[in-house]
Amino acid sequence: MKRKTFLKSLVGAAAIAVAAVGLPAFAQETIKIGEINHYKRMAAFAGPYKLGIELALEEVNAAGGVLGKPLEFIFRDDQGKPGEAVKIAEELMTRDGAVMLTGTILSNVGLAISSLAAEKKYVYLASEPLADAITWEKGNDYTFRLRSSTYMQAAMLAEEAAKTDAIRYATIAPNYAYGKDAVAAFKKALTALKPDVEFVAEQWPALFKIDAGAEAQALERAKPDAIFNVTFGGDLAKFVREGGTRGLFEGRNVYGLLSGEPEYLDPLGDEAPEGWVVTGYPWAEITDGPGKLFVETYVARYDDHPRIGSLVGYMTVQSIVAALEKAGSTDGEAIRAAFADLPVSTPVGDIKFRAIDHQATMGAYVGTIALKDGKGTMVDWVYKYGGDYTLPDEEVMKLRGSGN
């Protein structure tokens, strides 16, 4: 009797497989891109990103598509799990007829897809994940990355920090790879520019479980001249509030990685920490050029302002369109070859996918947080070109190793 129920599992598995096979095949006349993301787990970031993609798709297809065909994105949710993402990537490429893959915010998911891309020879454009490893230590022939990496953004802030007299630095970063990379990059870049700096405290709160009061106390105890912050999301809100209440930021320079992005700044409302020097996206302050045009188009389309994710999503489509047009076909190898030294015109200006490490030269906006009409924004900002903030070519080559 039990064996029968055991059997049911096998039959059930087969039935599921058959049902899955039976899903309707999509019409074949579009060019399909497989987009994998954590739409639910990271809803605040993935939502605007998807809107940015859809806006760009509407524009591209209204203008006749790519290679004479409409461009289509297939959006899939990986639940934030690398293993799921790999499975979905296989499905998109082998069953749904996607010509290449893109997406992900979490670095570990990006790394998992990148490894699959190299193994199965699928082209993968990592749009949002920041980990340096994606284009350096674990870089491979088939993976490209759009956004400026952790190292690039930390180096931009280090450049600003080196201009001040601050000597004693404290760091606070979530206790995981992104936080550690960011602190290491900031230290490396700042020490190179200003060898006499000291790092007097390093705090490592667990991601999204910060004990902000205790962290603020610990930082205060070290009496630093300046603080480098990598916390974000809910952790950032708690840190800003506890630190502000306890006077931690008074008379200190604070450098915040990504803290100026609307995703993180907006929820802080009128408690946005004025005076912090941050990387971010000052969408409301951009007054001319393609950057302004993008903001206007986006606001007109969605009646909401763009986030950094919207910008990245939009630029993802632009990059893919440019690659397809340069390749002149949807063949994987042709697309891959096209990405090398591919120039793309975007809202942040002209960028290029570097042939040496497949990293795009998209930069970041660096500025100071200020309050306007009860909301945080960035003033005195400059756009720093990503290509100026990477490691020297020899070091990049060494990191990427000989194999790939």
């Binding site: 009797m1 039990k2 064996r3 029968k4 129920t5 055991f6 059997l7 049911k8 599992s9 096998l10 059930g12 598995a13 087969a14 599921i16 497989a17 049902a19 899955a20 096979v21 639910k40 809803a43 605040a44 899939r76 949710d77 934030g80 690398p82 293993g83 799921e84 499975k87 499905e91 082998t94 670095s107 570990n108 790394l111 998992a112 490894s115 699959l116 193994e119 206790n175 995981y176 790879a177 405290a201 390093e202 705090q203 490592w204 709160p205 999204f208 479980k209 004990d211 009061g213 205790a214 962290e215 106390q217 610990a218 999301g233 809910g234 708690k238 209440t245 306890r246 929820p267 408690e271």
Partner: protein, 619 residues
């Protein structure tokens, strides 16, 4: 000195919300024996509901009223959940209800996203308590002091409710012996509903009261879950003073950890829990569990027997179908089935422990992930070929299980479950923190099968052979003398001991064996995905397995496999929809209600009732 005091005050303030949420969980468990995984969701709802009230109610009066209202509203939501979802399944096997609460988590996650949107919400500051007070020169936020003052009032009110009121007497009686309370004519259903209201209201209060120290976001439900379980277990399940002491202990230690050992943030809590449980197996203030609660709730289990001739033929036919599938299906079907098979083996190994051994492991991901990491580390650092790595993975996982099992098996019941969870978390934090070796959360990548097995079809066959082989081996073990001894130890330890079975030894071996089987699944997983990340060791992974074992049916031999195949298959389909968490949550709740014996168990009953299968007693 001032700094020292300021730290302790910070710890006490942090303990406040933690205590409220944890005491709710403790109450619910104490009376209903439900391990309420959804408790974090009620905490999250409290934060959001409190925030919404604070937007409309002005001033200090409005602020505190909002907190109370948040508690009330969440309590009412708790009642709705209890009546709609949990009442139908009280008669189900012990711990089965946790599957239902898991469904509730998913539903609440998507509903909260629908109602409050994706953006994080910053909590309003408490009117009149925005600044700081300097104590010996150290700044202490006024609201922290308010929380420190408030908590004893909540604790006192609870104490009064529990010790001085009739409801409290009933609650205490039910905590000790709920059957007796029922026999004395107390309407258990309403008692349970009342306790659920109180517990959820406390969670809601906790969520609302922490608003000025942070806010509300969609990840806070899972983020607080491990902390409140740790507090409840350290304090002793069902003990309110224990919950308070444990909340303070954890919070204060955490503050000192942050200051003196900043890297400790991931592991500290679990280290404390392991230490406490080793010296006080039932927590600081807990009592030994009433013997015989486990594996014996609900109708008695049927004896298992080997499959008959026809059943074997049908299984063979099923295997044949799987064998010829590569000729018919596309390559993704094979990828999907490989995934499902790996998950089924993982689930079956937990089912072996849980169903046959009565050993509820909440940390089974440790062995799945352990095996996976063993294989990945061997490949990365020693260039081990896949074949050898697949042999060593179960050995490593089995060894891990034997080590963990040695400590965990000193405890029983829910404390055992919690200790396995703590060990899994320790392993997770080790892997997460030791970035130089394990790559931290950037994981280990580029671990692909050997050349001969790298094709999708070949790997499919390899995975099928190992997974089905493993599942059959687990089944075979169930029918062996060892399986009988294991079930004897589960059903009556004393009688088993009297017949000469060394029950602890048998359970220990079973723990190691199940761990090794999970290790095979883990090893295959690495090579099928090409990479491994710490999330395969996370609590969520352990829960996945736990859910499918219950969903499939604890009391049937095929439960793990049926549940695994059903849930993985359903997930693959459902995650294509926008609100997939809502759908999946509702589906789980639906299955739980219509199939309280699990899918396999209920199908069997249906088959019997319409005469497709012979009843056990006639056989």
């Amino acid at each position: 000195m001032g700094f020292f005091i300021a730290q302790i005050l910070t710890g006490l303030a942090n303990a406040s919300a933690l205590f409220m949420v944890a005491s709710g969980l403790s109450l619910i468990f104490g009376v209903t024996r439900i391990v309420n995984f959804a408790h974090g969701s009620f905490y999250m709802l409290g934060a959001y509901v409190g925030y919404s009230f604070m937007q409309v109610l002005p001033g200090a009066w409005g602020f505190w009223t909002s907190i109370l209202l948040a508690g009330l509203v969440v309590g009412v939501i708790g009642i709705i959940v209890e009546m709609l979802v949990l009442r139908p399944v009280y008669k189900a096997p012990e711990l089965f209800q946790l599957v239902a609460t898991f469904g509730v988590i998913l539903v609440i996650q998507d509903l909260a996203l629908l109602v409050w949107g994706a953006d994080d919400v910053l909590g309003p500051r408490a009117p009149g308590l925005k600044g700081i007070i300097r104590i010996m020169g150290e700044p202490v936020p006024k609201y922290d002091l308010a929380l420190i003052a408030l908590t004893p009032f909540v604790a006192f009110a609870l104490w009064w409710l529990i010790t001085k009121t009739r409801m409290g007497i009933l609650v205490r009686a039910a905590t000790q012996d709920r059957e007796m309370v029922g026999a004395l004519g107390v309407n258990q259903a309403w008692l349970f509903t009342g306790v659920f209201f109180l517990g959820c209201a406390l969670a809601g209060l906790g969520g609302a009261v922490q608003l000025p120290k942070g806010g509300a976001d969609l990840l806070m439900d899972f983020n607080i879950l491990s902390a409140i379980f740790v507090v409840v277990v350290i304090g002793g399940m069902g003990s309110l003073p224990g919950a308070y002491v444990a909340a303070v202990l954890i919070s204060v230690l955490n503050v000192f950890g942050v200051n003196y050992l900043p890297q400790s943030t991931l592991a500290l809590m679990f280290v404390v829990m392991v230490v406490v449980l080793i010296f006080r197996p039932f927590g600081l203030f807990g009592r030994e569990e009433v013997a015989g609660e486990h594996g014996q709730v609900g109708e008695p289990e049927r004896p298992i027997k080997p499959a008959g001739q026809t059943a074997r033929m049908i299984v063979l036919a099923g295997l044949g179908a799987l064998a010829v599938l590569p000729l018919l299906g596309d390559s993704f079907t094979l990828v999907l089935l490989t995934d499902i098979a790996i998950f089924c083996l993982f689930a079956a190994s937990l089912h072996f422990l849980l169903g046959l051994g009565g050993l509820v492991s909440f940390g089974h991901a440790a062995y799945f992930g352990g095996g996976a990491y063993a294989a990945a580390l061997l490949v990365t650092y020693a260039g081990t070929p896949m074949e050898l790595a697949l042999i060593l993975a179960p050995l490593a996982a089995g060894l891990t299980a034997i080590i963990f099992g040695w400590v965990c098996l000193r405890l029983t019941g829910v404390y055992f479950a919690m200790l396995t969870l703590a060990f899994a978390q320790l392993l997770w934090s080790l892997v997460f923190q030791w970035g130089d070796l394990t790559g931290g959360d950037d994981g280990l990548v580029d671990i692909w099968p050997s050349e001969w097995a790298s094709g999708t079809t070949t790997f499919y066959y390899l995975a099928m052979v190992l997974c089905i082989g493993g599942i059959i081996m687990l089944r075979h073990t169930a029918h062996s003398p060892f399986g009988y001894a294991l079930r004897a130890a589960r059903d009556s330890q004393r009688q088993a001991e009297a017949t000469g079975i060394n029950t602890k030894h048998v359970q220990w071996v079973a723990f190691g064996f199940a761990g090794a089987m999970a290790g095979i699944a883990g090893g295959l997983f690495v090579f099928s995905k090409g990479s491994i990340f710490p999330n395969e060791l996370e609590i969520a992974r352990s829960f996945d397995a736990l859910i499918v074992v219950f969903l499939g049916g604890v009391k049937t031999l095929a439960g793990g496999v049926v549940g695994g195949a059903a849930l993985e298959g359903a997930k693959d389909y459902i995650t294509r929809f926008e609100y997939w968490r809502l759908l999946l949550g509702l589906l789980i709740i639906f299955v739980v209600i219509v199939a309280p014996d699990g899918i396999a168990g209920t199908l069997r009953k249906w088959a019997e009732s319409i005469g497709l299968m012979k009843r056990e007693d006639q056989a």
